[in-house]
Amino acid sequence: MQLSCPMPKMDYDRITLGHGGGGTLTNRLLEQGVFDILGNEILDTHHDGAVFHMNGMMAFSTDSFVVSPIFFPGGDIGELAVNGTVNDLAMCGAKPQYLSLSFIIEEGFLVEDFWRILCSIKDACQRAGVKIVTGDTKVVENGKGDQIFINTSGVGIIEPKAQIRMDRVKAGDVIIVSNVVASHGIAIMSVREGLQFESDILSDTQPLNHVVTAMIDEFGDHIHLLKDPTRGGIASVLNEIVRDINLGIHLDEKQIPIDSQVKGACEILGLDPLYVANEGIFIAIVDARFAEDIVSQLKKNEACEHATIIGQIVPDHPRQVVMRSGIGGKRVVNMLVGEQLPRIC
């Protein structure tokens, strides 16, 4: 990435309060950094806000990113900030188009690291096919932040065939998970100060919009609901779903795909993978008649090669997620209480 994205020569190597002050330093940082690398016809107008046309039903979403550490195996805070909002829009059945990008930077932050994050944002935008069209940069005193925080918001047009709504979920629907669970949380954990352990585990952060668009194109309104199980893991997302519908969920523990290294790390750390964060998978609740075909189509995509049916919407035990354990027992899977691991995204 560094080769394709060389840092321009700058006469400062750390961000200072002046870079957030709105004066010449801010302008230089924007012109030499942000505008230069992320520029496009809308951003380049340098207006107070972005002005653009949108036709049709829209989705709008926002997310803030405070992950620690900011560089982690498989990604960094910049890539995460783009993918996070892109995926939230994709879960609405929208084609993400325009994003806003705001930084809160701690005084003293290395310009080189800021540049690295900008490059990563650029790459992530290209991969997802979205544009940064407006933004903001603020700097806080040393000790008042933690390196860098990012907020992104985004808009997208709802795909014509998408009919994705909570009220479309019905008994008998099948629950699909698009890939292995718990990779992001464990990747972060593996490099957390005081916890480091050696592994090849990478965060799964990636844009899901292309694969979701293809799925909606092919299967249209047979896709009833989409959710990305970030913080709180798949357990929390499934509980959010049953909380909103008067139905239950039945899960099969044996079917839930998980990488063996991630599983091992969860064992050692005493974490339940159902509650560990993900950043590059989704849960789809679909018409049972098409579930197998949807899984087959998903599996063709590298991002979803372990797509699997993990459960079903059932009329029994409304508002509860019940899982058949690996040995044939049953347990209730509840919402995550408190934090399993803070600042995961």
Binding site: K254, K263, E267, V322, S325, G326, I327, G328, R331, V332
Partner: protein, 367 residues
Amino acid sequence: MKYVNEYRDEELAQSYIKKIKDTVTRKWNIMEVCGGQTHSLVKNGILDLLPNEVNMIHGPGCPVCVTPIHLIDKAIYLAEEKGVTLCSYGDMLRVPGSSRSLLDAKAQGADVRILYSPLEAVTLAQQNPEKEVVFFAVGFETTAPANAMSVVQAKQMGVKNYSILTSHVLVPPAIEAVMNDEDSVIHGFLAAGHVCTIMGISEYGPLVEKYKIPIVVTGFEPVDLLQGIYMTVKQLESGKYVLENQYSRVVQAKGNLKAIEMINEVFNVQDRVWRGIGPIPESGYEVKAEYEAYNANIRFNVQIEEAEENKSCIAGQVLKGIKKPFECPEFGKKCKPEFPLGAPMVSSEGACAAYYHFNRATENISA
């Protein structure tokens, strides 16, 4: 995961369930001492798979749950008033003291940290010589060697700003306390495999003889637990009471001699108060006099008044196995993991939390 997956095998697990069903003829109350075993029983749905005759009673083996309130208050006081960096395991930070938890204190500005090992606390002390670093050393015999090691290491490295606040408890005296309780209805015990990995099994033979009860040293995976339960039921049905070791792939009769040596170097046995249960003679460890410079109790000499438990919490009865968590009127109502009335609702090893998380509505499960 080799040596783990085999013990989660459905077919094998079901074969033990069948054996238990084929063997049992009457009701038996079996206590699993360790909270880790309680957690596994509930998480894997084993309680619902067992025949009604086998009644699992969840013992006091959750170290966080039995740590007295006044020690938590003391830890909070040290962090807030003495300005120490207070470190402990995650669960410990969530347990309510008389008014607040360590996490509440952290939110209000105290320097409270979650660590996975006391040795990290020694490093923290070494890197911050201007700060006093205290590790809140809770646990059964399993965590004692590492806590002892941290003290020995601090001494060897000349780290003078490190000390431990000890709340170490021991399993065999807890089994005695349970058996001596006049309300006790226990017929047999699953002893905690990890504790025996450290200490060996020699302490349990005399208990078997004294109380004429079977004790089976048992592991934590579903097949371990089912095999341990089967071994206990088989003994009970044939009128036997002997000490058996289900977890022989890990537990050696003499235990881990190096670990025991480390414990004996730093700790001696003394009386301890168990939250919810009360004082039990010779039931815990305290730092020996020769290491008193590393004993936070002595280093800071803080006197904290004994605090009262929340009156509506029946933790004592739950920890002694007299009541099931759901028999508490506040279970899942006023008492939830987000705002616990008592410690068993906090720790992942606590019986109430285990029931709340995995088994809250067993009677409703029909999927």
